[in-house]
């Protein structure tokens, strides 16, 4: 804490000196004397106690009312408040052999609304984040096309673009729990999931521009990373809503998300949305590359595996309360959660407090968009009783989110991917929340 207040003091003194330099010499001495005294007061107040200061609480006037803060462009690119320091991506180290081919989780327990801030979007790399100078980046489009082209980023961005709010989810989200509950936090049970406003050029526009031939039924998308990550995508999807994205939430893509350009296949498993996109090839057959044969195929109990399991089916989870957000005493709460479907809009979400014996309809709040996170809400009064909390989403195709038992009956427990089962939180009488599975 000492270091923090020292740096805070130094910053404050810097601000004062800055302001003083803009004053005539005659005024400067007086200003500085008062300013240093003011900074001293702030230090004294701050060091008086480690926690909330009584002197900052009513009826006292808080220190912030009696001092100045830093001026404009102190932080040319703004950062969250330092009091939000634990709102960060996290990983589970033992999931993967190393951090370069690995995954991190978004802190869903801390987010509001449906947009994931750019710095908190979950990460999935197969060979780490490449450093790409956009002036040296090219997007090649070739194969079964009339006029193969190479685009600079400037040229790509001259095509008419569109913006879509869409979720992106790793198909392994929740995949550690096919056999049993072992993740002790919402961030780890559901955090391979984020939702942004993505801006880019429809892939259909680019395929039209290059004159994709009628025999072209598939496109291969390939990344400029050390894995040259590649996936085959059917032309139906490519012409439907696939986007060649260069911006997220109003700014250029973050390096972690594919800077300077990535693919987005809305509603489909995240790995098909190739990041650091360098090449699109049109072909007449799929390529059956590593990420669509040895990985991202779903093994069934009979030893056969499903291939091209693209869609992220309807899913939901209660985000408050959750293991990270226990209840603090009895009384009224707003239960909240997120629902999403790779097939379209969320139509309805129900919640249960008794492990699925009875259900009540929750309210959808804010934007309800296709293939986007949708926030649901239910006001309730907790009387201190233990409960088994669940949410169940229904999408516009009338697909009802399944129970884990139903999923296991069809798919066994070996498929790793696409576990979209109704999730259960155990709420104890002391307000703590635990990840459990029930039968």
């Amino acid at each position: 804490m000492t270091r923090h207040y020292n740096s805070e003091t130094a910053r404050l003194l810097g601000v004062i000196a800055d302001e003083a330099n803009k004053l005539p010499v005659s005024d400067r001495r007086d200003f500085l004397r008062k300013g240093v005294a003011m900074a001293g007061t702030a230090i004294a107040a701050a060091t008086a106690s480690g926690g909330a200061l009584a002197s900052n609480l009513p009826p006292n006037i808080p220190a912030s009312n009696r001092s100045l803060g830093p001026g404009v462009v102190t932080n040319p690119y703004g950062q969250p408040s330092r009091f939000e320091g634990d709102v960060v991506r996290r990983t589970v180290p033992w999931l993967t052999a190393n951090k370069i081919s690995s995954i991190s989780f978004s802190p869903l327990q801390e987010l509001s609304g449906i947009i994931t801030p750019n710095g908190l979007v979950f990460e999935r790399y197969h060979a780490g984040v490449p450093t790409i100078d956009p002036s040296e980046h090219r997007l090649m489009i070739h194969g079964l096309v009339e006029r193969p082209i190479v685009l600079t980023m400037d040229e790509l961005m001259r095509f008419p673009s569109t913006s879509l709010i869409r979720f992106i989810e790793c198909p392994a989200n929740g995949g550690m729990e096919w056999r049993g509950a072992q993740m002790e936090a919402l961030q780890f049970t559901h955090g391979m999931l984020s939702c942004c406003e993505w801006t880019g050029v429809p892939l259909s526009t680019l395929l039209q521009e290059v004159g994709a031939k009628p025999q072209g039924k598939w496109v291969l998308a390939e990344g400029a990373d050390g894995a040259a990550m590649s996936r085959s995508i059917p032309i139906e999807k490519a012409l439907d809503d696939t986007l060649v994205v260069f911006a997220q939430n109003g700014e250029a893509l973050r390096p972690e998300q594919g800077y300077p350009v990535r693919l987005l296949n809305p509603g489909w498993e995240g790995n098909t949305s190739i990041k650091w996109l360098r090449r699109i090839e049109v072909g007449d057959k799929p390529w059956f590359h590593r990420e669509e044969t040895s990985k991202y195929t779903d093994l069934m109990p009979d030893g056969k595996a499903r291939k091209f399991t693209w869609v992220q089916e309807t899913n939901s989870v209660i985000t408050s309360p959750c293991p990270e957000k226990p209840l603090r005493g009895r009384g009224r709460y707003e239960l909240e959660g997120l629902a999403w479907s790779g097939r379209g809009r969320i139509k309805r979400v129900d919640v249960s407090f008794d492990g699925g014996v009875s259900w009540q309809q929750a309210r959808l709040k804010g934007l309800v968009l296709p293939k986007a996170l949708t926030r649901f809400s239910f006001e309730w009064s907790w009387k201190g009783n233990p409960a088994l909390l669940q949410s169940r989403a229904i999408d516009e195709t009338d697909y009802v989110q399944p129970t884990l038992t139903q999923l296991r009956q069809v798919r066994g427990v070996e498929s790793i991917y696409h576990k979209n089962a109704i999730h259960t939180w155990k709420l104890a009488a002391d307000g703590t929340v635990t990840n459990v599975q029930i039968d």
């Binding site: 634990d86 006029r147 390529w287 059956f288 056969k304 014996v357 038992t405 696409h418």
Partner: protein, 358 residues
Amino acid sequence: MYRLTDRFNKSLLAGLLLVFLAAGLRAEPEGQKGAAQEPVQATQMGSTAAAAGLFQDIEERSLSFSHSLDPARAGYYGLGEAATPEMIAGWDIDVRPDGQGLPPGSGTAEIGEPLYEKKCAECHGVFGEGAGRWPKLAGNEPLVGGGRPEKTVGNYWPYASTLWDYIHRAMPFLQPQSLTDSEVYAITAYVLYLNEIIEYDWELNQDNLATIAMPNRDGFFMDPRPDTRNVACMEGCKDPDTIKITWDSTRLGVTPVEHLQQSRATPLPGSAPQSGDKVYRQACGLCHDSGLGGAPAIGDKAAWAGRIAQGRELLIEHAINGFQGETGVMPPKGGQAQLSSDAVSAAVDYMLGRVGEG
């Protein structure tokens, strides 16, 4: 995410698996419980799929699909440079099961063996058995039946072309796209040999690779989802007395939960200068923990002696800018370009400290 399963194998106790299996046997289909549920219309699933624009059996259907691109509008925007055959040849690296994309070249397992041992065995094991949590490559145990084996080239991969394509595009892990085409043929042949798919001296080349029949070539089928039929029952959906908690995540204690107890006033990461050991863990440990890729292992005085003799400044310069040495390659900043030079220097000093040169 295949490594998730790998860890999963190790993290869950066999006894707990038995508990689940026993529980699973007792379980009834959700739809059979409770009286308030409605029967699912037989047509519902089909119409759901149609409404959602799902592409069942798209691989087959797409052969007759006629999309609505207008050839007359090709080149409408006139943006971009024409991709020349030379440009395309340089970038077009993909290979398909029918052999399309394979460059001329050849190799045998015999030629591939020393290459594999030098460039691959460190992670994948001398016999393809996998080291630590790095992928296992060889093995023909059945995929189901209780043994829960890892998926390998032998028991899972449907096409030999995928092996060639992936080794060529992404391996060795630390130096992707550094192998010659013939080296890729030879290493591919060796991995196929480890899986008892080809003979040790059989020459693999661009003409015969697509003819290899992989053991699991018929092991895949198109995604049939939606494959569950839950109904939105509202009342009396279960007998409350039958509800059992089958799993409690806190029993295993395998996830990091320190942050659940942390104060909210934690300073943001990156606000203080990074310490050498922290940078080491973030950027260097992957190779220097074990000596992967010819890196001098941390604390290994013999491995470091020659390097130390060159002087700290040169080591730091190599760590920042990268270096190709006799035993291996040092990627610039360990491949973590976002690190500052000071951070890399601190990590070098940390490593020097660990061999008594601090």
